[in-house]
Symmetry: C2
Subunit: 291 residues, 2 copies
């Protein structure tokens, strides 16, 4: 496989995700370099053998880009677009780029346009994470039970799609699949962004400090993700605004319907909703026995 | 302590909760009897030494009631009220009753009125549970990390309140506290009933079977409780309708606000919400290191 050995991989943005990619890729014999704004991050990563080399100085970035056989963008969406714009001229002809961003339509088309025929960008979303951040917490075991989604457009070649799928397998993801940017963004608006909006609103709708002693598992489960990196998530919401608003409206409408059924004492309709939710959630359990 | 030894405890309704009470009380030397409509349940509980004696026949109930030094109601709210109505005449003079019901205002005052001076009802809510049900799954270890709330009214004596707090300690609850019926019902509408409504609506708002492969931990966390006993929960929603609607409106309003901030691209206001939710949720974590 193309990924094994001799690949010179450049990771741009060495946080939890970039660092975890680095660990997995070093293990299979890639030469891994990284660019990050933080001197501490680069030093830590070199000292701990997470990367082979790297730089935190803008003036050195070009030489790392020139050497790269492929590039993994592990930046926030807007920063990824900016970075590609600034460095496209230094890239080797025909290399492949991929990313780790949680939203797609807003960046895939733009990056592909910037690259033109110079290089090929094939987007991917590794649906893994931890509640901690930073390269110090990098750990490629987070990929084991997680999903990896390749998100091609019409402009992508079969070879690049396969290359990106292989990357997901090499990283150790449980399942690798393919979605269009639009399918991906609708899905992520529902299963991830909407759930974070719900968790936030559950915490902010009411002064609840005095309730700490009374919460059971359900409240804790629903609000675990209410601790949130506000810079990253406000940007993710912004760039995926249209699908997110659609899912929020769908959910608010459904919850309002349930509210009105309770208000009207329509027991049979309420039970019908509960049976549907039970049936659907049971299917999820069958798929993932351990969750 | 009054609870140790010689108490003749009657448990009415031998499900997961009644059975778990029985196990804990047998262990400290109480004589435990039970009434349940199911022959299998009573047989299983006697065969497995969960209770000392019990009946599934209505015509035998009176003799068990006459012997009881105290009674634990482990029935659905309306069934509990009915049962007390039917059996008050057979109760020993001055005994105490308690319950395990998840809603309070709707039953406490009614049961206290039915009992009059004959016996004293002191309500309690053991905030424990499992996703399984039935006496076969009874297990008093579910009380260990959980909260137990004593819910007295003006009619309750200091002695009964203390007796009920002692019961919570004996059962092995992590924390025993006191709330008024109204405080309790508002709290439970927020931390338990609203969260169940949210989980249900997340599953019912959208056909999601094809999304099984893409869900991460957040979606699974938020919908774990979407598998729901529709008979019990529709009754719980009904009897606690007023506080529940209030909390639902609060939450729907807050989520709609967040939706509108996203729509207007008000990044600073969105970040402010996120900071508040992060701060509040972090305090919850400090309180329960393991959750």
């Amino acid at each position: 496989m193309e990924w094994i050995n001799k690949q010179n991989v450049l990771i741009v943005g060495l946080g939890l995700m970039g660092g975890s990619y680095a660990k997995a890729l070093k293990r299979i014999g890639c030469r891994v370099t990284a660019i990050d704004k933080s001197e501490d991050t680069i030093k830590f990563a070199i000292d701990n053998n997470i990367i082979d080399d790297g730089t935190f100085k803008e003036e050195n970035e070009a030489s790392f880009v020139k050497e790269a056989d492929c590039i993994i963008l592990a930046l926030y969406p807007n920063a990824a677009i900016e970075w590609v714009k600034n460095h496209v001229d230094n890239m080797k002809e025909g290399i492949r780029l991929t990313d780790v961003t949680g939203v797609k339509s807003c960046i895939v088309y733009k990056i592909q346009e910037i690259l033109g025929d110079k290089a090929e960008f094939i987007a991917a979303h590794p649906m893994a994470g931890k509640e901690t951040s930073g390269v110090e917490n990098a750990d490629d075991r987070i990929f084991r039970d997680a999903n990896y989604i390749v998100v091609p457009t019409d402009k992508n070649t079969e070879e690049a799609i396969l290359w990106c799928e292989n990357l997901g397998q090499i990283l150790g993801f449980n399942k690798v699949s393919i979605l269009s940017p639009e399918e991906h963004d609708e899905m992520i608006a529902y299963v991830s962004q909407l759930t974070h909006c719900i968790a936030i609103s559950l915490m902010t709708c009411k002064d609840n400090e005095h309730l700490k002693d009374y919460t059971g598992d359900s409240f804790r489960d629903l609000t675990r993700i209410a601790r949130i990196n506000e810079n990253m998530w406000s940007e993710l919401f912004h760039v995926n605004k249209e699908p997110l608003l659609k899912e929020m409206d769908l959910f608010i409408n459904e919850l309002t319907q349930l509210r009105n059924l309770i208000d009207k004492d329509d027991q049979e309709a309420i039970k019908e909703k509960m049976r549907l939710s039970t049936k659907r959630r049971s299917k999820f359990n069958q798929n993932n026995k351990n969750k």
